[in-house]
Structure formats: C-alpha cells, structure tokens
Subunit: 347 residues, 2 copies
C-alpha cells in the first residue's frame, strides 16, 4: 500500500509501462474553478435518426449507403487519415534533423449496433460480445497483412472527445509502423520480461490484486483498475488475469469476460457524475510485425476527461504539454469513487 502520507503530499509516480513520470498534487482539489465549463451531455434519444450516417439505410458523405445491418457493421473510413496505396518514399537530411517517410495504413469505422441511442454502457452483454468478435476479426484480418505492423482499435465517445456522432461506433487505424505509445510499451515489456522472465503486466496485476486499493471491478477473466500512474482523473485499465497477447488470442471465456467488464466499467462511468461519461478508449495488443511477443499482455486504456462534474474537465495544457502530466485527485481516491459508481450501476 502507498503510505498514507503520499495521499496528502505532492509527489511523482513512475509509469512502469511508458517509463515516464506523472505529478500528483492531492492537496489541490479545494481549488475553486472559474474556467471554461462544457455543455451538458444529452444522451441520444432516437432509436433511428434519419440524419445519422451510421444508422442503417442512410447515405454517408461521399454517396455510400450504410446498409440495413442487423448487428455490427464495418466500413472503410470515408475520410481516412491513412491509405494503403502509397508508393514508399523517404526523406532524410543526413543529420537526422529532417526525416520523413511515407506511411501506409487502413482506417475503418466500426458500428457497434444499429440502434442510434445505445452505447457500450447500455447495450446487452451478448451484443457487446458481438463487438468483441468484430474487433477480433478486424485485428486478425488487418494484422495478417504484410505491410501492417500495428492495429489500433479505439473509440472516441462523446463530443468532448471529438466524436462527431453519438451513434455507438469506434475506429481502427492500422499502420505500417508501430505507433509511439505501443512502441514505448513494447520496450518496457521486453526489458522487464528479459530481466524477470515473467510479463510486466502479469506481475503488476498481481501486486494490484494483493493491494486492492486501485481495483474497481473484476470477473473470472478480467480486472478493471485505476493504474498506479493514472494521468486522467478517472483513467482506468482493463487487464486479463492470464498472459494473452491480443484480441485474436482470447479464449471464449475471456471474450465473454471482456464483454462483461466493458459494460461494468462504462455503466459505472455514467454514474460518476450522473451523465453519459465521455472518454477515449482503446486496446493495446501485441504488434502484428511478424515477431513473437511473449512479453506482451494485451490491455485496454480508458482516458476520460471529466474531473469535477459533468461540465468541468481536466485541461492538459501548459505544464502538462511543456513539462509532465499532472493530476489533482489521487488514483486511490478515483478508484474509491469508481467502485461506488460501479456498485450503483449494479451491472
């Protein structure tokens, strides 16, 4: 257990997965807020919205029609940030100061459900299980491509997180190179595995389970916790109990468990401020670079921006952009709030 004294004292914590520091200022929560507040989030109410391009039967930008899909639906992003048909080229000034290279990739949009008014928090566990299967199929298919080294599955939820549409959906960006964040996690997990002979996240999870103070929910196959090094006020991580490298390697039971804990966490979030909780979430599975990854344990990150209420968010600005990330409430107190919220949601 972290010593009591730390819970009232400015300190920094080590993020063992990214190998960087976060500054924690637990005494700072009394600060009055006079800054910008966000619009109250109104949940979608229409089951079918004729103006929504993700609702079955509607026309998207660019003239494509979204078919009348019964469950999940995947399509290539009409405004993809990445393309597959790029002629490889690179540019280097010789001193490593100006370096660029083309990047091939695929961007897809993944509809979770035909109903416009649902979210992971309000969908049934079997329906979420279908989403898990869709994600898995996508990682399998795209990860098998020779030119794809990483498949990033994610969801931007809520207007505050840049989502332009409340229809339940996520995205996949698959890239030729391993992006920065998984690259950091790859290096730390590799080093730890070489030194200890066991995966970093399995040893970390064992410690979290024995301490208990940052655990917010668990089932037979998965655990949800506020990481010791959380940056966002109510940041959480989903970690499987067993060492499994990615979505394609999950057993049936682990997929069921993942669907269940996704519902628990998202429904719990909605109780924290009694509002649809915005977040970005996504999976970090092992790279699909053709190598073995015994060091890698798949996991999901949730990064929600809200801090004090449905309308007051954490700003990652000045010191955070120029120095280090900083948080006010401790991960332990956030975990306590989330445990109560999960209990209240009762799923």
């Amino acid at each position: 257990m972290i010593p009591e004294s730390f819970l009232q004292t400015p300190h920094r914590r080590w993020n063992a997965l990214k190998r960087e520091w976060v500054l924690v200022s637990p005494h700072r929560t009394q600060r009055p807020w006079q800054g910008q507040t966000e619009d109250t989030v109104k949940p979608a109410v229409l089951k079918y919205d004729p103006t929504c391009y993700l609702c079955p039967g509607n026309t998207r930008a660019g003239g494509h029609v979204t078919p009348k899909y019964p469950g999940t639906f995947v399509f290539e992003n009409d405004f993809a940030a990445l393309k597959d048909d790029v002629a490889p080229a690179s540019f280097d000034d010789g001193a490593g100061l100006l370096r660029a290279s083309t990047e091939r990739g695929v961007c897809r949009v993944l509809c979770f459900d035909p109903r416009h008014d649902l979210t992971l928090a309000t969908m049934s566990v079997p329906a979420i299980r279908n989403v898990v299967d869709m994600w898995t199929g996508q990682v399998q298919e795209l990860g098998a491509r020779e030119e794809i080294a990483y498949v990033e599955v994610f969801e931007n939820r809520g207007a505050m997180m840049g989502a332009s549409n409340p229809h339940p959906h996520g995205q996949i960006w698959a890239t030729e190179h391993i992006p920065n964040e998984p690259a950091l996690e790859l290096a730390s997990q590799k080093d730890y595995f070489a030194q200890h002979g066991s995966p970093l996240l399995i040893d970390y999870l064992a410690k979290e389970l024995s301490e208990g103070e940052r655990i917010i929910a668990e089932n037979e196959t998965w655990v949800a916790l506020v990481p010791f090094w959380a940056v966002w006020p109510f940041e959480t991580m989903l970690v499987p109990r067993a060492a499994v490298s990615g979505l394609p390697a999950l057993t049936e039971a682990q997929r069921d468990g993942l669907a269940a804990i996704l519902k628990t966490v998202t429904a719990g979030y909605n109780q924290v401020f009694d509002t649809p909780f915005p977040y970005s979430m996504g999976f970090h599975g092992a790279p699909t670079d053709g190598e073995d990854h015994p060091e890698w344990v798949m996991h999901a990150h949730f990064f929600p921006p809200l801090l004090r209420s449905a309308t007051v968010r954490k700003f990652m600005v000045g010191f955070e952009l120029l120095g280090s990330p900083q948080r006010d409430i401790t991960p332990e107190s956030a975990a306590e709030t989330l445990r109560q919220a999960v209990k209240k949601a009762g799923v």
Copy 2:
C-alpha cells in the same frame, strides 16, 4: 526542401528534439466537421474588472490582496500544485512497478500588465520586454535554489486552454526533478552535441533558414518557425540565432528581440481566424541542476488548439492518445498561413 509528393501523401515525420514520430495526413483536410464547436472567443473589454483577482487592488481567493502594481507582479499561486516544505520520502515495491517519491517545488502566478484587456499580442514591445525581464529574474532566483532542477515558465491563454481568467498572466512551476518533456530534450540535445560537437537546435535552425518554407518571422536575434515535426495545427517555436542556454543568459539585444518576436507571433496568431487565438506557450531553458549545459539551446513552444476556424479545434483523442500524434494540414501550409497572418498584423 521536403519533396512535393509528401505534401499530398500520408507520412510520418521524426521529431528530432523529442525523438518520436508524428503522423501527417495532408489529404484529409476536405473532411466535413460535424463535431463539437467551441464558443466564440470574446476579447476582454474592461481595462479594470472589479471581479478579477489579478487586477490591481482586488482581493484573491484566500483573502490576499493583489497590490496596485504599476508594471508586472508575481505572487505564490494560492492553489499551488507544488509546495516547498515537503519532507522527502519515497516508495518502491522493489520491482520498479510501483514507484513514487515526494516532489518539492514552487508555483507562482505572473501578471504581465495591470490592464485587464491587454494580451501579449496587444501590449507594447517595451511592456513585453518588462515581462521578459520578470521571467528572467524568476528563473534566476528559483533556479539558484539547491532543490530546484527545473524552472518551467508558461502561459495558458484562453478559456479553451484552461485559463480561468483573461487578465494577461502566466505561471511558473519550478520542480525538484526535470519534468518529462525537458528530460527528453536534454537526452536528444546531449547525444547530438556529443556526436556533432554543435548544438542540435543551432544546426536545425541553419537548415530551416536555408530552406525557408517553415519560417514565419525573424529579427536580428530570434526566428519563429513551424517545426518540421509540429503536432498542433499552428504550432510554432521561437529559436534564438545564437546558442544561449536560457533566459538568464540572454544579452540585452536578445531580450529586446525576444519581446519583439513574441508580439509578432501572438499578433499574427490573432489574424489567422480573426479571433483572440488560444494557446499554451512556454520556455524550455537548460535545467538548473548545477551542471553545465553546452548542448542546450533555449527556445519557446506555442501549442494552439484551433484547426479550421475560431470555433473548430483539433482533438487530440483516440489515435493520438493511444498511438501517435496526428495532424491534417502540413507544417509547410500552416507556415504559409502564418506568414500571411503576420504580414496582415503588420507589427
């Protein structure tokens, strides 16, 4: 010059200062925006606001009175994220998975001008020069303290960047350890200096000056440019022409030049969308850790969030948080826009 083909093709660029990648998707700007828009920014109009705790003569939270200061004014942050009187302690689980240590430091608020309605963009160059001198004095004083390894001087401008008050002001967070961002820059600058015998940023600036396509303004002592590896749409960097390690090492002429280029850049920003441009800016000077830093060249970063208009910002969400930073417009096209804006501002 970066080959023409890169200006239409998804590619990644190397940030030589942080040693990480940024994804550039130049073909993506046609994307329609249906997501969240921000409130229009209204400039402050009152020269003196009786409800502003930074205006001369008013009472702050906690009962302190802001004196009737004639120029600049510095005070300890009433809700400081860092404190100086912390008894050192640390916590380690033995495996490097749960590590924390207390962090000593100082947080101060710096008023730039008694007038509530001014900003760096609208203050006179001599008044900005006073601000430069205030910053310099602060870095000198705090950096001299034994327990302070880094002094971060920054400004959060605009409600969109978490600023709770339009009164022209910035902050200082001085810390016992070097924060993450300067630590990354320290490592890259040290390695480059060891390999080349010249400072990274001096060689980088020479390349930028010879290419010209990312330069937005220059005077005798300073250059403003959009870095080759810019992440934010209109991100810029101010770099001195000569190798100087930090604010305290600047000559009189370099201080004048800094004041002038700060006005040029901020006034230019306000022309881009004809709105007070929000941003976080700050200085990266050499650490005050008692060591010599021949590798370090001081510079300022501006991180402004706006992308398409006064009300549509770039969201650093899903892929950015879980993968790598991503941008749509190229640094070269942003630089072209900013050059025009600076010309229009005519300062």
